[in-house]
Amino acid sequence: MREYVVRRLLLIPLIIIGVSFLTFMTFRVIPGDTTVFICGLGCTDEVIHDLRAELGLDRPVFVQYWDWLKGVPQGDLGRSFQTKLPVTKELQTRFPVTLELLILAVIFSLVLGIPPGILSAVRPGTAVDFVVRVVSVFWLSIPSFYIAILMITFGASWFSWSPPNFATGEVASVFHNPLKNLEELVPPAIVLGVGIAAVIMRLTRSSMLEVMRNDYIRTAYSKGLKERAVVWRHALKNAMIPVATIIGLQVGGLIGGSVLVESVFGLNGMGNYLVVAIGTRDLQVVQALVLIFATAFVLINLIVDLAYAWLDPRIHYA
């Protein structure tokens, strides 16, 4: 086990370096000259030449990559072409927003997904089961951004509710003003969590069904244990193993979903920033964000793998 963890950890810098190389090369080589995006209409060949020299774009691309890579461990991801601020500074306020949004979304998806899933598995074939199944298929099929739009549109006309609009340009800090923070982040987190909740609901149900069919459950029942005890003490833990995995697998989807949901709700998080940066062709920022998302994703997948082993002692990684 330890060996496996060490090997996985060693692999991570390699993957990250590969990813950074891939992003760097793609963004530098393919889309043409970024300088024209910077200098606007005043631009002549001369200006472009000077600007390229100033930005160091006239050097060989591998030298540029090495320079950029050297900065990454020191937290230097380059500067935005647009605002000329260091990307890391731009991320200071945005990173916590996305992080909190994702955490809240996972919490909501568990709360909304697991209990109905268990209920439906314990009472298969009943009306409860049917409702849960239908609801989960619907939730699964409605894209998160559509739910968000409907929430805002009909929220406004039916309940005079509108999402907090971040009129100050930022999300309230969870430490200084937790209530306001929740008011701002809960609606997008619910929207984001619903789709995942449907997946979790279905998986919980099928995994519970499978577990409940096991001999040891029958034994537990025949010992005269109450259903509650059987479900809680014996079935649930084993049924949760695949659920834990699926949550890990959903993180990639969650990150993608956060891009969409942040955009609808106008949240100044990393996802929204990615969209804005692509729209303004601020490739320096896009490159940095893509790297961060990929790194986070790789790390989370590692953690999930490890958690999986911890949850199920039968699994040994060799």
Partner: protein
């Protein structure tokens, strides 16, 4: 996109019964009403996509200055938008764009992905290592982020690949097959296709690896069959079913992906009708601030219905393959697992 495909299932078991085809189908439909409904929806969708000109009551880009922002009525069942364009017609034409992008992306993605998967799995060694490490890298990106990265690089009209296509291939720049700005939309589908290819390659490689262990492959090799012959005769036919299953899983994901990036304003451009881009920008603003809900409600409903139909079909297929677990067995959950849209 799905990282690993939960592979459905042959329906052969069920079809074994020796009754006439129609009666077997009928029985199947009776036992799986949801799946049947899903298929009906998809058929309607395909009809809309193919015959939009005849189905749609108005020109989707036709502006009517006398019918701005009208609520749904008999003459405009889905209402009109801020320029008096008929929302129903736009939704119908949106099906064409969605289906086109979905189908092209899936074809390109599964073909390219299968090729790399086959080569990687069959030849192994250093080829396998290179391809697999490349796939590891690509799988390190969350799907939508990967897609956005691809599109931010090739989506712009002066990107190298796009210029190449415009100058060296006969792909038309303007309207073609009833699709405006064809090249741009085609490039988008290629972008989505790349993302699909990554997932496909991994799955196909796995399948090829296990096929390779079969005795009959050994036998063929011993008899002196060439690699080409083994691949064509023995491996490819066995992988085909898997690829077809993957394609059906990826199709709704591709449609969702198109809608999502168009929704973000990075996909299908104005004023081309597309479900995703019709839900964003000024339409979204109109919906929220003026309560013109119909301009976003119907395109979104069409999109959701499409995905729902695919999910219902998927569920039914799972039921058929494993009747013990009605309502969906694990892993996959549905086509948009892991897609995050």
């Amino acid at each position: 996109m799905a990282r690993e495909a939960a592979i459905p299932l042959s329906t052969q078991e069920v079809l074994k019964a020796r009754k006439p085809l129609w009666s077997r189908l009928l029985k199947l439909a009776r036992h799986h009403p949801l799946g049947t409904a899903g298929i009906m929806i998809i058929i309607v969708l395909i009809i809309c996509a193919l015959f939009a000109e005849y189905v749609a009551p108005y020109d989707p880009q036709g502006i009517d200055p006398h019918a701005l922002r009208q609520a749904p009525s008999l003459s405009h069942p889905f209402g009109t938008d801020r320029l008096g364009r008929d929302v129903l017609s736009r939704t119908i034409f949106g099906a064409r764009i969605s289906m086109f992008i979905g189908v092209v992306a899936v074809i390109v993605g599964t073909l390219v992905g299968s090729f790399f998967g086959l080569v990687s799995g069959y030849f192994g060694k250093w080829i396998d290592s290179i391809i697999q490490r490349a796939i590891d890298m690509l799988l390190a990106f969350p799907a939508l982020v990967l897609l956005l990265a691809i599109l931010s690089v090739i989506g712009s009209s002066d990107s190298a690949p796009r210029k190449f296509l415009a100058e060296h291939t006969p792909i038309p720049d303007g309207t073609f097959l009833g699709i405006p700005v064809f090249l741009q939309i085609f490039v988008m589908s290629l972008g989505i296709g790349v993302a699909i290819a990554v997932g496909t390659a991994r799955v196909v490689r796995g399948a090829v690896l296990s096929l390779k262990e079969n005795v009959y492959i050994e036998a063929a090799r011993a008899m002196g069959a060439s690699d080409g012959r083994i691949i064509m005769k023995h491996i490819l036919p066995n992988v085909m079913a898997l690829v077809a299953a993957l394609a059906t899983i990826f199709l709704p994901i591709a449609i969702l992906a198109e809608a999502a990036i168009s929704f973000l304003g990075l996909g299908v451009p104005n004023p081309v009708p597309s479900w995703g881009s019709d839900m964003t920008g000024q339409n979204q603003s109109d919906a929220v601030t003026r309560n013109i809900w119909w301009v976003v409600f119907f395109p979104g409903a069409a999109l959701s219905l499409t995905v729902l139909a695919f999910n219902m079909i998927g569920d039914s297929l799972r039921d058929i393959s494993d009747p013990r677990l009605r309502g969906g067995r694990g892993g996959g959950g549905g086509p948009n697992t892991g897609s995050g849209f």
